[in-house]
């Protein structure tokens, strides 16, 4: 077999990107097909049913559950305001009546004569979805959201934390193997997407948060540093909701590892351009990788359309790959051959392998599972 399929990460100077922007529940779409949008435009909006507040009203006014309906001053479906009387007990011979005043605004949803419990539903909560990437509305998904088409430079990272951010690209490390340290970050980097080289240090992240940078993109990060930044040890790679004051994206992996030269060069060529970044990562079903999207002024991409998510590429002689496991972790080389028969590894396991040519090293034999394609 002279080729195989293997996962990879996208690093593309120019591609046509289709971004789906969806509401969590049915709502209203504010744009039409063909509309031009900016990253910050609200494209769809929905009202999520308000929070529910259960309350045992029978206990509050000292009546039995069966009596509660006779004591209600508000009926299910009616609007409740803060300070409004909800129920009043009959008292004894008309005296010692007890009243309950609502501390919550919303709607009375139900009254239970079995438990004496009422359910108050708070006001609906608005949810807005922004375009995130400037471009043209390609498709409107009624009541759900839109698909936006944009011509962009695109880099997928391997792991990230933090949510969607925007800012101009600012090159902080001039080479791909220069560590990103605190002394390189200055006050004028506020709001920018900072491009490092090799490992980003804990100090650099702290400093970037201090100056108000939007995001950091670099080759690697040390596990211990990530633990200190998050305040806990990350157990499973499902991220995107962290609130540490900045979005962090690594392009290669954990440890002292430099950014792939090609990726760094791409960022350098787009210095100053506005970028949309998202650290959200999900490695399980429905793979999601962090991304840096830099819109270009070109009208069209290279003809290829990229849907968000992970992709599989063809592994064949000549393919550029990154080795993603020790003992050669981080090496980049080209596939020399794909032997058909499984080979015995040093670990004693038998696995299908490939041979990789890496500059400055003799030809390496690597399990196929331990490489990923660097895709253009």
């Amino acid at each position: 077999m002279a080729h195989a399929y293997t996962p990879g990460l996208k690093v593309s100077e120019q591609t046509t990107l289709h971004v789906r922007r969806l509401l969590p529940i049915a709502g209203t779409v504010h744009v039409r097909q063909g509309d031009i949008v900016t990253a910050q435009d609200v494209v769809a909006e929905a009202m999520i049913p308000g929070d529910i507040h259960p309350l045992n009203l029978a206990n509050q006014i000292g009546v039995s559950s069966a009596e509660i309906n006779n004591c209600m001053l508000v009926q299910p479906g009616e609007v409740v305001r803060i300070g409004m009387e909800l129920a009043r007990s009959k008292g004894i011979f008309g005296f010692f009546k007890k009243t309950y005043v609502s501390g919550i605004a919303g709607t009375l949803e139900s009254v239970s004569k079995i438990t004496g419990q009422i359910i108050l539903r708070g006001d609906p909560i608005p949810v807005q979805v922004r375009a995130y990437v400037p471009g043209t509305i390609l498709q409107v998904l009624p009541e759900q959201g839109v698909v936006i088409e944009s011509t962009v430079s695109l880099v997928q990272g391997i792991f990230g934390i933090g949510n969607e951010q925007y800012g101009p690209i600012r090159i902080v490390c001039q080479s791909c193997d220069q560590p990103l340290t605190a002394d390189l970050i200055t006050e004028e980097m506020r709001g920018a997407v900072l491009i490092g080289g090799a490992r980003m240090t804990h100090g650099a992240v702290r400093r970037a948060i201090e100056v108000g940078a939007s995001a950091i993109v670099s080759g690697g990060i040390d596990d211990q540093d990530l633990k200190e930044i998050l305040g806990y040890d990350l157990g499973v790679a499902i991220t995107g909701t962290e609130n540490v004051g900045i979005t962090l994206i690594i392009t290669e992996g954990f440890g002292d590892i430099g950014m792939a030269a090609r990726t760094h060069a791409l960022f350098c060529s787009r210095a100053g351009a506005m970028a949309s970044v998202n650290g959200a990562t999900q490695i399980r079903a429905g793979v999601m990788r962090p991304e840096i999207i830099i819109p270009t002024t070109a009208k069209t991409g290279n003809g290829e359309v990229f849907q968000e998510g992970a992709f599989e590429g063809l592994l064949e002689p000549g393919t550029l790959v990154r080795i993603i496991r020790d003992p050669y972790f981080g090496f980049i080389g080209t596939v020399a051959s794909l032997p058909a028969e499984p080979r015995m590894l040093e670990s004693g396991s038998k696995a299908r392998v490939l041979e990789v040519d890496v500059t400055g090293h003799p030809r390496l034999t690597i399990p196929r599972a331990n490489v990923e394609i660097i895709a253009g």
Binding site: P7, I25, A26, P49, D51, I52, H53, P54, S65, E109, S110, S112, I114, T115, Q117, I119, R121, I158, F159, D222, D223, Q224, L226, D233, L234, G235, V236, A237, G253, F254, G255, T281, I283, R284, A285, G286, I324, R325, D326, P327, F329, L345, E346, S347, G348, S349, K350, A351, I366, P367, A369, N370, E372
Partner: protein, 601 residues
């Protein structure tokens, strides 16, 4: 069901549609016995672009057809039935865990009682329990509602109250769930199935609490009285609704359901089914474990009582980082006998988490992964022991003899001394380069006591056989015994602690292997005893140790061999990796050498 009588069934096709791979096996009658003959696999196709599970099934079946030379699919891609000559099969069955399996939310009045029973019913049916709500779970009602709204379960099981007992509390739970309007995973048209398995007298009131937005049904109470559980009706109901609702909304499953001769079962439910069948038939106590990339499932049958737990986030790839966080690096490294840099290891663990499909290339990486596996298995088994208990809340008659016993009920029914068979499956155990490594991981993590047979599931065939057991028990049992299990051998271990180096027990082995001698505390030894061989082993433990007959009492039993052999383990229970630094490493090195785990310079 197939129209054929069971004795007319000669060719059986079975598939298991997993999250990533669909595995197919062919079972044929060979010289009067059912044997697994061919296997094929293909990527599961529930996601885009195919978005039809039957595409992956057809691909896996096509691979079997190619290997066996038997035509199994017709021109339309349908499975040919019945078998005629070298064409078709007599029955086709399937299990499924694609799309994350069956995810459930369970609720009960008291966490340790009705809620625990509901959880056992859901887990036994093969579900992943996303959360357990109870009136006494220390969360405020609004927090419970918030949690219900966040989750997107496939189904809800509501229990509470013994028959004739509390109604108010169970209705209160229903009143919390109903307005929360839990959102299902499969689109807005899906009506959430809610099963009520609580106090039957509360049923009319519970029915009143819910509106048309849910598919409400009732089954027998999981806890009709305080001292009894009745889980089967709830499990059956879950299976029915799994097919009718959850599966029917997954891409291509309506087609798959029409193809099969028996209801599709959730994969873990089927594994539990076969383990239960074997334990019942052989009259033994058994534990099965399946360690995956994200979760570890543990199944046990002790004295006929079946239990299953899923340890979410204890796995070898997606959740390897969580194993390290929960177990601590110190506990993992106690199993490692060579120098390793902790900072480097931490980064490697995270790299495995973000690139979960990579495999160890170096011996050092393999040793570390197997150390992590020991801890993941140990933690999963600990959770299982805590969950598999006798019923809580039962009034107990106490005698003077129980005066100093602090036991309040809810005692674990998992007893390693009573354990007869320990079955391993899952990548790190099944694909270990040496079977000795699989046996060592099992012994170190599960700490079996007395005489225990060790085995592994050869190609993860237990799900297929679990569903087959419902249609054709004889075929399932024959294949289980002959092709499914690879016997690793037998472990004989002393329970209790003895000073290191002191005598632990004497042994005398006769039959296909002859040996006698003394084991000293801290030692482990491997004797060659092949699969087809058997031996009679007599063990005479010292006064403070127990090998199955009581402290200091001799015991003699017939044992079976396997690909590893007979292991005598005098390291003591609970197993302690004693000493520090060099001493600890020397001790582990001696164990590695004794079991011939790795080739080291």
């Amino acid at each position: 069901m197939s129209a054929l009588a069971t004795d007319q069934i000669n060719v059986i096709l079975a598939t298991d549609c997993g999250s990533t791979t669909t595995k197919a096996i062919l079972i044929e009658k060979v010289e009067g016995h059912y044997r697994q003959t061919y296997r094929g696999e293909a990527p599961t196709t529930v996601e885009e672009p195919a978005a039809d599970v039957t595409v992956g099934v057809s691909n896996a079946v096509a691979e079997i057809a190619e290997l066996s030379g038997r035509q199994l699919l017709d021109e339309q891609g349908h499975i040919i039935r019945p078998a005629r000559g070298n064409t078709g099969c007599d029955i086709y069955i399937s299990t499924s865990s694609a799309g994350g399996g069956l995810q459930m939310l369970v609720a009960g009045v008291v966490r340790e009682m009705t809620a625990a029973s509901a959880k056992r019913a859901a887990l036994g049916a093969g579900a992943i329990v996303m959360d357990t709500l109870a009136s006494n779970d220390k969360r405020k009602p609004y927090e419970q509602i918030q949690r219900i709204r966040e989750l997107r379960p496939d189904m809800i099981l509501l229990s509470g109250g013994t028959d004739g007992g509390t109604q108010k509390h169970v209705v209160q739970l229903a009143e919390l769930i109903a307005p929360a309007k839990p959102q299902p995973r499969f689109g807005e048209r899906y009506r959430m199935p809610v099963i009520f398995a609580g106090n039957k007298e509360a049923w009319p009131l519970v029915r009143e609490a819910f509106d048309e937005g849910v598919e409400l049904s009732q089954t027998e109470n999981v806890r009709p009285t305080l001292d009894s559980e009745n889980l089967s009706p709830a499990r059956d109901k879950i299976h029915d609704l799994f097919l009718e609702h959850v599966m029917a909304h997954a891409p291509g499953y309506d087609k798959l359901i029409s193809w099969t001769n028996a209801p599709i079962m959730p994969t873990p439910g089927a594994v539990g089914n076969i383990l239960r069948t074997i334990a019942e038939r052989e009259g033994i106590n058994a534990v099965g474990v399946d360690i995956g990339g994200a979760t570890t499932d543990v199944f046990s049958v002790f004295d006929g009582v079946f239990n299953r737990t899923v340890s979410a986030n204890l796995g070898m790839s997606y959740s390897i980082s969580n194993v390290c966080a929960e177990a601590t690096m110190e506990n993992i490294l106690r199993w490692v006998h060579i120098d390793m840099d902790e900072r480097d290891l931490r980064n490697r663990v995270k790299n495995k988490m973000i690139r979960p499909t990579t495999i160890p290339q170096t011996l050092e990486a393999l040793i570390f992964e197997q150390a992590v596996a020991r801890e993941a298995l140990r933690l999963a088994y600990l959770q299982h022991k805590e969950f598999a208990t006798t019923l809580k809340g039962i009034q107990q008659q106490r005698t003077v003899g129980d005066l100093f016993l602090q036991d309040t009920g809810g005692r674990s029914i998992v007893d390693n001394m009573k354990l007869n068979l320990l079955v391993a499956s899952g990548g790190v155990l099944s694909h270990a380069p040496r079977m000795e490594q699989t046996a060592a991981m099992l012994i170190d993590a599960f700490e079996p006591e007395g005489f225990t047979t060790l085995a592994k599931d050869s190609i993860f065939m237990m799900p297929h056989l679990g569903v087959l057991a419902q249609v054709h028990p004889r075929a399932a049992l024959e294949v289980f015994e002959r092709d499914c299990l690879i016997y690793l051998g037998t472990c004989i271990a002393s329970a209790g602690l003895q000073k290191p180096g002191k005598e632990a027990f004497r042994y005398r082995i006769t039959g296909d292997l002859h040996a006698d001698g003394t084991m000293h505390a801290g030692e482990i030894r491997l004797f060659p005893l092949k699969r087809e061989q058997q031996a009679m082993v007599r063990i005479e433990p010292v006064r403070r140790l127990d090998c199955g007959a009581g402290k200091g009492r001799p015991i003699e039993q017939q044992v079976r061999g396997g690909t590893v052999g007979l292991i005598l383990d005098a390291r003591g229970r609970p197993l302690c990796v004693g000493g520090s630094g060099g001493a600890k490493r020397d001790q582990v090195s001696a164990w590695v050498k004794a079991l011939r785990l790795y080739d080291m310079e």
